[in-house]
């Protein structure tokens, strides 16, 4: 009986492999893959990214698609983690025959995917990964097929530091970072360096891990130092916890952070009085911004966050480049992306030699449960 079972199982496995090996028939749709972390450590980021990109796809499709074809968005859950991201990327490239990927949100996942797309000649635009390593090889050269729609962490950290020193008159800062996250660490490092370079003093740096919920030991140290600024450039879950516990311990330092704060799940009471750098501001009066907000709200019922905006922008970038090339040719599309400039909701996107956009940063301020645009920092 068991021998039959063995045979049946092996046949099943081989059969499924055969099935999968059959390439799908060429379709008359242009396929675009969206790799977003729908589950995992930052699910709201994934949902926003998917929704923003989907809105762009729907708008293009309503106007007739691109290259005369309708666009098919293939969504895969990459969980902000390298291994599932790689599996998802392999699946969409090999199984679905996709040539263009919008993804991922998290730098570590984007870095993992970028190796694959470089090898296979697939164009990747990451909407929100800010770590410089996403577009750079280990030896420092720029990857050919990888681009991004957001500014990088050196600019983000640097402008935050400048803002703290000039506008907030801060002299001392304490930096907290998740040591397991390239994005957080990078931002923390750039901020600390810029802060020190421009005359401030970094009175302490403490590491924690992503699963930590109890920050009392770290905050005790922060309390001792009494810094002006507490820089926590992490995603909203950790920021919520740290903010709450800091307030409980009577830490009055101004909290600052990065674009990881931008989420409807950010606990505004916990970070009251804080500032964070972001890619866009909902109260930006530019027409393109307000139109986008109106459309997004009509379709999804909420105001878009920066991730939705950047996904929207990245998708538009990609589709515009494809339209400019005139055919489904990733090699040519990448060249157009490298040299073109695109007006977008988050500002003018013009890529530098490292495929990184030079864009403005928006400093947002949280007070009494409301997030407002405070300043726009131009490069």
């Amino acid at each position: 009986m068991s021998k039959k079972l063995l045979i049946i199982l092996s046949l099943l496995v081989i059969a499924s492999m055969m099935l999968a090996a059959c390439k799908p028939a060429g379709s008359s749709k242009l396929k675009l893959a969206i790799l977003a972390p729908l589950s995992g450590p930052v699910p709201t980021f994934g949902v926003s990214t998917r929704d923003g990109a989907q809105l762009a796809v729907d708008e293009w499709n309503a106007k007739g698609g691109v290259l005369g074809m309708q666009i098919e968005a293939i969504i895969a859950d990459s969980q902000c983690t390298p291994e599932p991201a790689v599996n998802a990327a392999n699946k969409v490239i090999d199984q679905d025959g996709v040539h263009y990927i919008i993804g991922e949100v998290c730098s570590k996942a984007s870095i993992a995917i970028s190796d694959i797309v470089e090898k296979k000649g697939v164009v990747q635009i990451s909407p929100t990964s800010t770590n410089p390593q996403v577009t750079k090889n280990v030896d420092g050269s720029t990857k050919q097929y990888v681009f991004r729609a957001c500014f990088t962490d050196d600019w983000q950290g640097g402008s935050a530091a400048k803002y703290a020193l000039t506008k907030l008159n801060a002299k001392t800062a304490f930096v907290l970072f998740d040591q397991g996250n390239d994005y957080v660490r990078g931002l923390a490092e750039y901020f600390a360096k810029a802060f020190a370079d421009q005359g401030g003093t970094v009175v302490g740096q403490e590491a924690y891990t992503a699963q930590d919920t109890d920050f009392s030991a770290i905050l005790a140290k922060v309390g001792e130092q009494k810094p002006d600024i507490l820089y926590v450039p992490d995603y909203y879950p950790a920021v919520n916890l740290i903010g709450n516990q800091a307030k409980e311990k009577g830490i009055t330092a101004i909290m600052m952070g990065g674009d990881g704060w931008d989420s409807p799940q950010l606990d505004l009471k916990a970070v009251d009085g804080g500032y964070f750098s972001n890619h866009y501001a909902p109260d930006d009066p530019r027409a393109v911004v307000q139109t986008f907000i109106k459309n997004y709200k009509a379709k999804y019922g909420v105001i878009p966050d920066a991730l939705a905006v950047l996904a929207y922008d990245a998708t538009n970038m990609m589709l515009n480049a494809i339209k400019q090339v005139g055919k489904d040719d990733p090699a040519k599309v990448k060249d157009v992306l490298a040299t073109g400039s695109f007006d977008s909701v988050s500002g003018l996107i013009k890529l530098d030699a490292n495929h990184n956009p030079i864009k403005s940063a928006f400093i947002m301020h949280i007070k009494d449960g409301v997030i407002k645009l405070d300043t726009t920092l131009n490069p």
């Binding site: 699910p43 040591q179 403490e206 891990t209 109890d214 799940q265």
Partner: protein, 374 residues
């Protein structure tokens, strides 16, 4: 006396020293001494910070104690490591979240008798929320036991273990679905406001948005509530186990199940009651944990569950005072290593502590000696 088997001519005091096991115990002693010295210097340098870390450790320790009790009781009675326990904890936290934020349960007394002082309303409200979570967790725990564990009671133990793992995964990922708990990290709304006090020349209240004076030790009403609730529940548990008939039945069943059955004890019911009590405690622990660290998400039970499990083993799994002691030790180990070594290393240190304790006392601090020899 050992029989000298080998006529090997090593220098005699060397081999005698090795014989008597001085090397191993010596090394451990050295390690302990180093730790003590380190802690001593820290205490000397900055006594306030040291005491603060200990206070922080208490908060964690008591919450772990509530969870650890569930593990230890279930293991004591059916020799099963109930991996789903941490997820029952999670469900407790979520139930209280829904109760407070959607149904505003913590304010029910207000609608009945609005003239009562706020503090009393909140007190009653919070207790109601905790009771509700405990109740739901009891139902959940007993259901799991009946559906998943009971049919496997005579199957090899590993099958029950795998089933426990399966139930744990199922609870987590089912909870992650969008119509249940969602995969989001939801901010938990506390049923009452946090107030912080600081100790410096007496106990003073710390008003919001002010810095405490240097050299003061902070604690919040959350800590007080956690300690009071935990001690109350543990005492209640001890009372049940030591002074009631059902407690006696539980002890008997965990000592020798077949004989207990022969004595007319309804073993199945007793086991269900054990699961119920354990789950109730986990539910209470979940609420308290969520109040302390106001964020609920479907994975929140894994790490505290693991740490509570380690605490239970540390104290001697199957022993109720052991679970409490083990949990307090774990809480302190975590707080002190987070404070003086580094936060990312604290898990490694906690586990190394466990392994060292197991090496010295193979069944944990209060554990019963093993009946089967290695």
């Amino acid at each position: 006396m050992d029989i000298q088997i080998s006529p090997n001519k090593q220098s005699s005091w060397f081999s005698r020293a090795l014989l008597k096991g001085y090397l191993g115990r010596g090394l451990l002693l050295l390690l302990g001494l180093l730790v003590a010295i380190r802690l001593g210097t820290e205490l000397f340098h900055n006594p306030q910070l040291f005491v603060q870390q200990i206070v922080n450790g208490l908060q964690l320790g008591f919450v772990y104690a509530l969870i650890a009790l569930g593990y230890t009781m279930v293991y004591g009675i059916v020799r099963l490591i109930n991996f789903a326990h941490g997820d029952v904890f999670m469900v407790g936290a979520f139930v209280s979240y829904f109760a407070v934020s959607r149904f505003r349960l913590h304010l029910w007394l207000n609608s009945v008798a609005p003239q009562l002082p706020n503090a009393l309303t909140l007190l009653v409200g919070t207790i109601s929320v905790i009771l509700l979570s405990m109740f739901v967790c009891v139902l959940l725990g007993v259901t799991i036991e009946r559906v998943a564990y009971k049919p496997l009671r005579d199957a090899p133990r590993i099958a029950a273990l795998i089933t426990a793992i399966g139930v744990s995964f199922f609870l987590e990922y089912f909870g992650a679905l969008n119509f249940v708990f969602t995969p989001n990290f939801t901010t938990y709304q506390r049923p009452f406001e946090v107030t912080t006090w600081y100790i410096k020349n007496g106990i003073h209240r710390l008003p919001a948005n002010t810095q405490p004076p240097s050299g003061s030790i902070l604690f919040s009403n959350i800590l007080v509530i956690i300690i009071i609730t935990s001690i109350f529940l543990v005492t209640l548990l001890q009372f049940i186990v030591r002074r009631t008939k059902i407690g006696k039945a539980m002890r008997a069943t965990s000592f020798d199940k077949p004989t207990a059955r022969l004595m007319g004890i309804p073993v199945d019911t007793v086991i269900s009651v054990t699961f119920a009590i354990g789950s109730a405690l986990a539910g209470a622990g979940g609420v308290l944990y969520a109040i302390a660290f106001p964020q609920v998400f479907f994975w929140m039970g894994i790490i505290p569950g693991l740490k509570a499990f380690v605490a239970a083993v540390l104290g001697g799994i199957g022993s109720i005072p052991g679970a409490l002691v083990g949990a307090l030790i774990m809480g302190q180990a975590e707080a002190l290593s987070a404070g003086y070594i580094s936060t990312p290393m604290r898990d490694a240190i906690a586990f190394s502590l466990l392994i060292i304790v197991l090496l010295i006392r193979p069944t944990g601090i209060f554990g019963e000696p093993e009946r089967e020899k290695a």
